[in-house]
């Protein structure tokens, strides 16, 4: 990559130009195209599980983008939480709601044209705005800003209170999920116990 950088520098002394991208920028753009393509397929395909798998590609690509932006810790958290847990939960949910193999007719609602219009309008507006605002801004990527040591230092010196509040939120979410997913009626003997045969018909009726 260093040779590539040197070559770019020698061709164009003012290296900060859109016409002479650095190696990092090329990789960023390629991965970005992959992320965007995967995201588009993920929201348009009619095969439910394929949509979730394309989401994996998009989120994994974003982790690579975080790495390129020197936010190493955030990238690994992204892989751990999103790819390892969130997408697995989503797939779990899709399978429990009987996602079929092949296209499912009720993946999209009737307001696709309206959604397309809103999406395109927001994209056009925001892209114009963002390009106009940050056309001449550059990120200086020298000096890693997101190593684990640095992240730990700022997280536990400046952000302790939000961090603790977040743990309370997670606890609330945990309790909420347990309350929601408990069987209706809350009969404690519904669970199978060791050495006891289930006889009542109530549980079977619920299913």
């Amino acid at each position: 990559m260093s040779t590539l950088l040197a070559a770019a520098g020698s061709l164009e002394p003012a290296a900060r130009s859109y016409l002479s991208p650095t190696g990092q920028e090329i990789v960023f753009l390629l991965v970005g195209a992959l992320v965007l393509g995967a995201a588009v397929v993920s929201v348009t395909t009619r095969q439910l599980v394929h949509a979730a798998l394309w989401l994996v590609v998009a989120l994994g690509g974003l982790a690579v983008e975080f790495l390129l932006l020197t936010a190493e810790f955030v990238a690994w958290v992204q892989v751990l939480v999103y790819l390892g847990s969130v997408v697995v939960l989503v797939l779990f949910g899709l399978m429990l709601t009987r996602a079929p193999i092949g296209r499912s007719p009720e993946a999209d609602s009737g307001n696709r044209p309206a959604a397309l219009a809103v999406g395109a309008a927001s994209a056009a507006t925001l892209v114009t705005l963002v390009v106009d605002a940050f056309r001449s801004s550059w990120i200086d990527l020298s000096g890693a800003a997101g190593t684990t040591r640095l992240t730990g230092e700022y997280l536990f010196s400046h952000w302790v209170l939000p961090f603790e509040a977040l743990s309370v939120l997670l606890l609330a979410a945990l309790v909420g999920a347990i309350v929601l997913s408990r069987a209706k009626g809350g009969s404690a003997d519904a669970k199978p116990r060791a050495g006891k045969l289930r006889t009542g018909l109530t549980k079977q009726k619920e299913r």
Partner: protein, 118 residues
């Protein structure tokens, strides 16, 4: 690196997410589109954090918090979806319109009928 690259990518991802939220009918697909939007915001936060060289690193800290909140959100969301699926036998957003009223007898499952009779 040009700041415009991550910023534009984040904008496009966000718009794709907006389209998905509006166009999708299956609740889980809607949740996935919401995740895409959240991730677009995360990319923006990280890019601007690196650009501003913030001493507090507010962008990256906020990204970590967003990821955590998103994990909590998807867990709760899926619990709700599975509960709805268990009682209504559907995962489509536009079919869940009863808001818990029990006037439509044909939509009730066996367990609920029993409860309503009791």
């Amino acid at each position: 690196m040009h700041l415009a690259y991550p910023a534009v990518l984040a904008v496009l991802l966000f718009s794709v997410g907006v389209y998905g939220v509006l166009a999708r009918r299956n609740v889980i697909l809607v949740l996935m589109s919401v995740e895409l939007m959240l991730n677009a915001v995360n990319l923006n936060l990280v890019a601007f954090d690196v650009w501003l060289r913030d001493t507090l690193h507010a962008g990256q800290a906020l990204t970590l918090f967003t990821i955590t909140v998103a994990a909590a959100e998807i867990g709760l969301g899926l619990a709700v979806v599975l509960l709805v699926y268990r009682t209504r036998r559907t995962a489509a957003v536009d079919e869940v319109t009863a808001l818990g009223d029990r006037h439509e007898a044909d939509e009730l499952s066996d367990g609920e009928k029993e409860q309503a009779a009791a």
